[in-house]
C-alpha cells in the first residue's frame, strides 16, 4: 500500500493539472495530445538541424576534395603536387575546412592542416599498452552484447554497460563510452518511469471501473424512484445538476465532494450540503441517489478517464524522447567515425527498445547520402551495417597498406594508410599498426612533404636531391617524371632570362624586367638570375663610373683616354642618348688619328720626314691635344724644322692677311718639300686671296686699274 502511494502522488499532480484544464473549459486530452506532436516537432527540428549542417558542407567539401586530390597523397602523388607547383598560373590550394569522402558522403575532418598534423602524430607515436587494453575492452563489450553470446541476457548487458565506464577511462576513448553508458542509463531510467506510470494507470483504471459502477447504480436507482428511464434520469440529473452548480456558484455555497479525491466515487463520506437539493435521497448504502449526486459521480468518472489518457500520453512521450536521444547518439557516433561505439550503442539500443522501435527517426538524410540508390527504410541495423562495412574497409585498407609496404611500394602504402586513417582513425586496425612500418612511412611522408613544400617554393635543386633520396626509400616513386618536370621548368626560366638579357641589351628595361620576373616565377633560385642581377648592378655602377670618366676626359679633350676605354664605354653608354653620340664622335676622330699615326710610322720608315710631318699635322685637326700625337710631332719637328718654320710663317702671314708674304713662305716650304700638300693647299688659298685683293683694287677705281694697265708694259 505504501509502495503504490508514490505513483498516486504523481496522479494527484496530474489531476490538479487536469482539473485546471477542465476549469478553463479545455479538454484534458488536448494538452497531452498536443504535447506529443510538439515533442515530435522538436525532435524533427533537431534532425533538420543535422541535415542543414550537412547541407552547409558541399562548398567546403568541393574545395577540400580538390585539396585532397592535389595537396595530399591521396590518389594524387607528389607528381601532381609538383606539376601543380610548376604551373605558375595555377591557383593556390586552400586546404582549410576539409572533408573526407567515403561512399559519397563527406566527413568533416576539420581544418585540413590540423588533420595532417594528427596523421603525422599518428605515424610518429607507437601504440601503447593502453591502446591494446582499450581495444580489448571494447571487444569484450561487443562480445557481451553479441546476440551469439548469452542471447542478450540481462547480466551480459549489465556487464557490458559497466565495462563502458572502464573504457571511458582511456584517453583514446575521448569520453564516447561514457556517453553511450549515460545514454543507456537514461533509457533505463525512462523505462522505470514508464513502469511507474503503468502502475498509476492501472490504479486509475481500477478507480474508473468503480466510478463507472457507481454511476450506473445511481442512474438505475434514480430511474426507479422517479419512474423515468435511465436515459431520462441521466439527462435530468445533468440538467438539474448544472442548474444546481450554477446556483451554488452564484449563491456562494460549497459542495464538498470528499476529502480525498481518490475516494470521490465511493460515496459522500463526511460530505455535507448546506443548501440541499430537492428530490435527493439515500439508498441502503448511504449513497446519494438524487440527480445532483448522480451529476458529481458522472463528472468524477470523466475526470478519472482524462487522467488515464494523460498518463498514457506521458508514457508515450518519455519513450519517444528516449528513442530519439538514443538514435541521435548512434548517428552522431557513426558520423564521428567511432564505428565501434556506434555498434555498441546500437546493440544496447536493440536490448532496450523492442523491435517496433528499430526504425530510425533521426539521421535519415545522412544515411541516405551513404546509400543514395536505396529506398529501404532506415533502421538502427542500417547504421550497424554501414559501421561494419566501414570497419571492413578499414581492415582491408590496412591489409593493402601492409601488402604495398612489403612489396617496397611505400608511396602506395602511404597513400592507402592515409586514406584508411581518414576513415578508421579510431579503429584498432589503424591504431595497432606496427611501429617500425609507421616509422619508415613517417620518414617517407616527411620527405615527400618536404619535397612538396620545396616544389611549392620552386627550389628545384633541393627537389631533385630529395627525389633521389625518396627514390632510395621506395620503388614506386616516379622520380624521373619529377626530374623531367623540374628540368622543363628550369629551361623555361633560363629562356625567360635570356629574353630579359636581350631586352636589356636593347635598352628595353621594362620588358627585361618582365622577363626576369617570369624567370624568377618559374625558378626563383635560378643561379643565372643572381648573375644577371649582379651584372645589371655592375653595369649600373660601371655606367655611373663611365659617365664620370667620360665627362672628365671629354671636357679636357683627352680623346685618347676615351678611345682606350671605348669598349667598356660603348657598353655603358648603350642607352645614353647624350654620351653615346659623343663617344661615337670621339672614336671616329681617334680612329683617324690612329690611321695618321700609322701612316707617319710608315713614312718615317721610308725616310720621308716631311710627309710624316704632314700626316701628323693632318691628325691634329682631329685631336689637337692628343698626347701621343704631340709627342710624335715633338720628336719629328727637329728633322723638318725649316719646313715647319716656313709653313708656320706662311700661316702667320695668312692670319695677318699678308697673303703675298704668306705665298712666299709657302713657296719656300714647297721648295723644301715639293710634294707638300700643306704648301700646295696654302698656295692655292693665298693666291685666291691675292686675286681677290687685286680685283678689289681694280674694280672700285677703274681709273686706277686703267692706270695700272697703262702704267706697266711688257716688251
Amino acid at each position: 500500500m505504501r509502495r503504490s502511494f508514490l505513483p498516486l502522488v504523481f496522479v494527484g499532480v496530474g489531476l490538479i493539472a487536469s482539473h485546471r484544464l477542465v476549469a478553463q473549459g479545455a479538454s484534458p486530452f488536448g494538452g497531452a495530445v498536443a504535447a506529443v506532436p510538439a515533442t515530435a516537432v522538436s525532435a524533427g527540428s533537431t534532425a533538420a538541424g543535422l541535415a542543414n549542417a550537412a547541407d552547409a558542407k558541399p562548398a567546403a567539401a568541393d574545395n577540400m576534395t580538390r585539396a585532397l586530390n592535389i595537396n595530399s597523397l591521396e590518389s594524387g602523388t607528389l607528381l601532381k603536387i609538383i606539376n601543380q607547383a610548376f604551373d605558375t598560373n595555377s591557383d593556390s590550394i586552400d586546404p582549410e575546412n576539409g572533408t573526407f569522402n567515403w561512399k559519397g558522403h563527406s566527413y568533416d575532418i576539420g581544418q585540413f592542416r590540423v588533420f595532417r598534423g594528427r596523421f603525422e602524430r599518428y605515424l610518429s607515436l607507437p601504440p601503447t599498452k593502453d591502446d591494446t587494453a582499450y581495444a580489448a575492452t571494447l571487444n569484450q563489450i561487443t562480445e557481451l552484447l553479441s546476440t551469439r553470446n548469452g542471447d542478450g541476457a540481462a547480466g551480459n548487458v549489465m556487464a557490458a554497460w559497466k565495462l563502458l565506464y572502464k573504457a571511458s577511462d582511456y584517453d583514446t576513448d575521448g569520453g564516447n563510452s561514457l556517453g553511450v553508458a549515460n545514454q543507456v542509463f537514461n533509457a533505463w531510467r525512462i523505462r522505470d518511469e514508464k513502469q511507474a506510470l503503468t502502475v498509476a494507470s492501472n490504479e486509475l483504471e481500477r478507480i474508473r471501473k468503480q466510478q463507472q459502477g457507481s454511476v450506473v447504480y445511481g442512474g438505475d436507482a434514480l430511474a426507479n424512484e422517479t419512474g423515468q428511464t435511465v436515459a431520462d434520469a441521466a439527462s435530468t440529473a445533468a440538467l438539474t445538476g448544472s442548474q444546481a452548480a450554477s446556483g451554488n456558484s452564484s449563491g456562494g455555497t460549497t459542495i464538498q465532494t470528499g476529502n480525498d479525491s481518490t475516494n470521490t466515487g465511493t460515496g459522500k463520506k463526511g460530505s455535507s450540503s448546506s443548501s440541499g437539493t430537492a428530490g435527493n435521497s439515500k439508498n441502503q448504502n448511504g449513497n446519494t441517489v438524487g440527480p445532483t449526486g448522480q451529476l458529481f459521480r458522472t463528472r468524477e468518472l470523466a475526470e478519472t478517464e482524462a487522467k488515464i489518457q494523460a498518463l498514457s500520453a506521458a508514457g508515450l512521450l518519455s519513450v519517444t524522447q528516449a528513442k530519439l536521444q538514443f538514435q541521435s547518439q548512434i548517428m552522431s557516433l557513426f558520423l564521428q567515425r567511432r564505428f565501434q561505439h556506434c555498434l555498441i550503442a546500437a546493440s544496447f539500443y536493440r536490448f532496450i527498445f523492442k523491435g517496433s522501435h528499430q526504425d530510425l527517426e533521426v539521421g535519415k538524410k545522412e544515411l541516405a547520402s551513404f546509400m543514395p540508390s536505396s529506398d529501404l527504410a532506415f533502421t538502427v541495423e542500417t547504421i550497424e551495417f554501414l559501421a561494419r562495412e566501414a570497419m571492413n574497409d578499414v581492415n582491408s585498407g590496412m591489409a593493402a597498406v601492409r601488402s604495398s609496404y612489403d612489396d617496397n611500394r611505400k608511396i602506395a602504402a602511404l597513400e592507402r594508410l592515409q586514406e584508411t586513417f581518414f576513415l578508421g582513425e579510431y579503429l584498432p586496425a589503424v591504431t595497432q599498426f606496427e611501429t617500425s612500418r609507421k616509422e619508415s612511412l613517417l620518414t617517407l611522408y616527411r620527405k615527400v612533404d618536404e619535397a612538396r613544400k620545396l616544389a611549392d617554393l620552386r627550389d628545384y635543386d633541393a627537389v631533385i636531391r630529395l627525389n633521389t633520396e625518396i627514390g632510395g626509400l621506395t620503388s614506386d616513386f616516379r622520380g624521373g617524371e619529377v626530374n623531367a618536370a623540374v628540368s622543363s621548368a628550369q629551361r623555361m626560366s633560363s629562356l625567360a632570362l635570356s629574353a630579359a638579357q636581350q631586352c636589356a641589351a636593347n635598352g628595353d628595361y621594362p620588358k627585361a624586367q618582365e622577363f626576369v620576373e617570369k624567370a624568377a616565377q618559374l625558378w626563383p633560385l635560378n643561379p643565372a638570375i643572381k648573375s644577371y642581377s649582379d651584372n645589371m648592378s655592375s653595369q649600373a655602377n660601371m655606367g655611373t663610373q663611365a659617365a664620370l670618366f667620360f665627362d672628365d676626359a671629354f671636357k679636357r679633350n683627352d680623346y685618347r683616354r676615351i678611345y682606350e676605354k671605348r669598349a667598356e664605354l660603348a657598353v655603358a653608354f648603350l642607352s645614353d642618348k647624350v654620351r653615346g653620340p659623343q663617344l661615337k664622335g670621339v672614336i671616329d676622330r681617334m680612329a683617324r688619328v690612329e690611321i695618321y699615326l700609322a701612316q707617319e710610322d710608315e713614312l718615317l720608315a721610308q725616310n720621308n720626314a716631311f710627309a710624316a710631318w704632314e700626316a701628323l699635322v693632318a691628325a691634329t685637326a682631329f685631336a689637337p691635344d692628343d698626347v701621343e700625337l704631340n709627342q710624335r710631332m715633338a720628336q719629328l719637328a727637329p728633322r723638318v724644322a725649316d719646313f715647319i718654320g716656313r709653313l708656320d710663317q706662311a700661316k702667320r702671314y695668312t692670319d695677318d692677311k699678308h697673303y703675298a708674304a704668306s705665298l712666299t713662305s709657302y713657296l719656300a716650304a714647297q721648295d723644301l718639300y715639293p710634294a707638300s700638300q700643306i704648301a700646295r693647299i696654302g698656295i692655292g688659298r693665298v693666291t685666291e686671296a691675292i686675286m681677290d685683293q687685286s680685283a678689289a683694287e681694280i674694280s672700285p677705281t677703274s681709273g686706277s686699274a686703267k692706270d695700272m694697265s697703262t702704267e706697266g708694259s711688257a716688251k
Binding site: L667, A668, I683, T687, S694, A695, S709, T710, G712, S713
Partner: protein, 104 residues
C-alpha cells in the same frame, strides 16, 4: 741728254736689284720700293681674267722662289723657263707687283 739720263736713272726704272734674302726675311720692310729682278719663270700659280696672274719665279742669282703678280694689262705672254727682267714694286702685304718686264 741729261733729261734722257734722268728718265733712265730716277724717273724711269730704278735698276736696283731685288734683295731676295731681305725680302724673305721681312717682306714688309720693302713695301713701297721698286726693284729689278732677273728671274726665270717657274710656274703659274693662279690667273684670274681681267685681273692678272701670279707667277712663281726663281731669281737667277738665288734658289728661293718668289711669287710675282703680273696684271693682265701688261698683256705678257709668259712661258715656264723663260727669263725676264721684271721691274717690280713691293706693295702692301709684300706683293711683288710687276710694273714692267723685259725678256732676257
Amino acid at each position: 741728254m741729261l733729261g734722257a739720263l734722268a728718265l733712265v736713272t730716277g724717273c724711269g726704272r730704278s735698276g736696283e736689284p731685288f734683295p731676295v734674302r731681305a725680302f724673305l726675311a721681312a717682306p714688309d720692310n720693302l713695301q713701297g720700293n721698286r726693284y729689278e729682278l732677273d728671274a726665270e719663270i717657274d710656274a703659274q700659280l693662279n690667273w684670274r681674267e681681267g685681273v692678272g696672274r701670279i707667277i712663281a719665279v726663281r731669281p737667277l742669282k738665288d734658289d728661293a722662289r718668289l711669287p710675282i703678280f703680273i696684271a693682265d694689262s701688261l698683256k705678257a705672254n709668259l712661258l715656264v723657263a723663260q727669263r725676264y727682267r721684271f721691274e717690280i714694286t713691293v706693295r702692301k702685304g709684300g706683293l711683288l707687283y710687276v710694273e714692267h718686264l723685259d725678256k732676257l
